[in-house]
């Protein structure tokens, strides 16, 4: 195991991206993700990569489109309002089957909202990342180490399936410091050599490549979208991830992701000490959504509690995961307010008391 060092979540993620071969980063300043840009602006020139501060979020995601289209690993990062601006470009990236990694360090919304941690982008990232039929792979890390591990995975899966991948973090994960280790110690920048589809100049050796999402004939567009959704099935089958703890005998199962899952786990452990039979299941991928894993974790439960830093967005997917077979309650704080383990514990006592 590599040596551990103490790093801020945003900076660890940025370093992990470089080690995953991310050659180009295009970003725009927004709190609370700015450390990613700041870190990469220092590091990229030293490792032969490219850091460019774009004129807008819109420009940044379109730079990613061009760079990814030429076959080079690249990334952009932003926070909630900036992600809204990027959605047009993300839709084109998905429609053109381009791989890239997008970071969303969520803050409170809607509108300008606030700059404190939030999970209110769940719907946007998992259900409405742009116009049209498409998905992105979405990872929800819950620690600084997982920020590092998921970004590496995100680059690999994005390339393998030629689709965008998102790291859905929040201000809490981005700003906190924890010990991390990097598996990849050697930095090797990506090139287009393994991407025969890339528009990087045909060198008079092949017919021209076209990166495009325009299909004026409905049948062709339908075939194109169906082929993409067939690939999605493969992603679902192989790359859905969740972890569960204490669920086997649990009367109440908590479902939470990201930093909220850490808080919820503290509450679950406290509840166990009080003798309440509670467990927790944490999705690591939000798309594909670990519906089976959640159903499995909840199979012996009498009720389910979904905890989020929002007014309740993932809770609908939890209900679908268990086919509404048992009551699903919700506890959440929003606007940048972080739910305290004690609040979650109180909710668990209340739910335990009912049964």
């Amino acid at each position: 195991m590599a040596e551990k060092s103490l790093m801020k979540g945003n900076e660890a993620l940025a370093e992990a991206a470089i080690r995953a071969g991310c050659k180009c980063f295009f970003g725009y300043p927004i709190t609370p993700q700015t450390e990613i840009s700041a870190y990469l602006s220092k590091r990229m020139p030293k490792v032969g990569g490219v850091f460019l501060q774009a004129e807008s979020e819109v420009a940044a995601i379109n730079m990613v489109y061009g760079c990814a289209g030429s076959g080079i690993r690249c990334m952009t990062s932003s926070s909630s309002p900036g992600i809204s601006l990027k959605t047009e470009g993300i839709s084109y990236i998905a429609g053109s089957d381009l791989p890239c990694v997008i970071i969303d360090v969520q803050r409170g919304g809607p509108g300008l909202g606030g700059i404190q941690p939030s999970q209110a982008d769940y719907w946007q990232i998992t259900h409405a990342l742009g116009h049209g039929d498409f998905h992105a792979i979405v990872f929800a890390p819950a620690s600084v180490q997982e920020m590092v591990d998921t970004v590496t995975k995100a680059f690999d899966l994005a390339d393998e399936y030629r689709m965008p991948a998102v790291i859905l973090a929040d201000g809490l994960l981005g700003q906190m410091m924890e010990p991390v280790a990097f598996e990849d110690t050697e930095i090797k920048m990506s090139d287009a050599s393994k991407k025969p589809w890339a528009a990087c100049g045909h060198g008079n050796k092949r017919k021209h490549n076209i990166i495009n999402s325009l299909y004026l004939k409905p049948d062709e567009l339908e075939d194109n979208v169906r082929a993409r959704f067939k690939r999605y099935e493969d992603v679902k089958a192989k790359h859905t991830e969740a972890v569960s703890d204490y669920c086997e005998d649990a009367d109440t199962v908590v479902v939470a992701y990201g930093s909220t899952a850490r808080l919820a786990k503290s509450a679950v452990e406290a509840a166990r000490k009080e003798g309440l039979k509670v467990g927790i299941v944490r999705p690591i991928t939000l798309w594909p959504y670990p519906a089976k894993e959640i159903a499995e974790a909840c199979k012996n439960a009498k009720n389910v509690l979904c905890v989020e830093m929002s007014m309740g967005q993932m809770v609908d997917d939890v209900k679908l995961a268990i086919n509404c077979s048992k009551p699903v309650e919700f506890y959440g704080r929003t606007g940048g307010v972080i739910p305290k383990p004690a609040e979650i514990l109180e909710k668990l006592r209340e739910m335990g008391g009912k049964n």
Partner: protein
Amino acid sequence: MPEFKRPHALADVTTHYCPGCTHGIVHRLVAEVIDEMGIEGDTIGVCPVGCSVMAYDYFECDMLEASHGRAPAVATGIKRANPDKFVFTYQGDGDLAAIGTAEIVHAATRGENITVIFINNTTYGMTGGQMAPTTLPGQVTQTTPYGRNPDVEGYPVRVCEMLSTLSGVALAERVTVIDPKNINIAKKAIRKGFEFQKNKQGFSIIEVLSTCPTNWGKTPIEALDRVRTEMIPYYPLGVFKEGAIR
């Protein structure tokens, strides 16, 4: 005997452009320059949204289709990752001078080492002839049925003049393709743009005053006359800035 043939970089297909639309001439000039410089294998083009949205089918070099107005950002992404390749965008006036204003201004001011071919025909052709940022005062379009009134719709944007104030610009030149003499000048300007790029000298934009006979409600030949009598007086031809920035 002199010979005149289709350049290799121009695909051997029938375009979807209306009869008399000068897009075809400009496409050919770009392809001729690519052929003459022997750079087809090292060139990557970026198409806009607008009438030339399907230009990716008309050039034999690698091509990307950008979203509306974002071609300069897309080109930036390609060029930064592949600094030794030739990258050009091909954009219309709605794409470049309305929805894509931020992208073109910032690509220009960064001195992004790309070549921009800018087609100014004073209207949105693809959507059926609405007011463009370059629509002339008084010009009737679908969305200015009483003529563009500067009190209401403001004034047209003179793109080359505006961009020539930026330090990152190596070449800003306005040309037209309404007769063989001007076609020769236009081709030289496009060649210059690609040469600047080859020498890593910065951003170049070649604005081409073009026609839209269909949406102007004119015959192709009348449309050439309109460029001469109405457009050139408002958009004077010539070099607005030329010189290496690096």
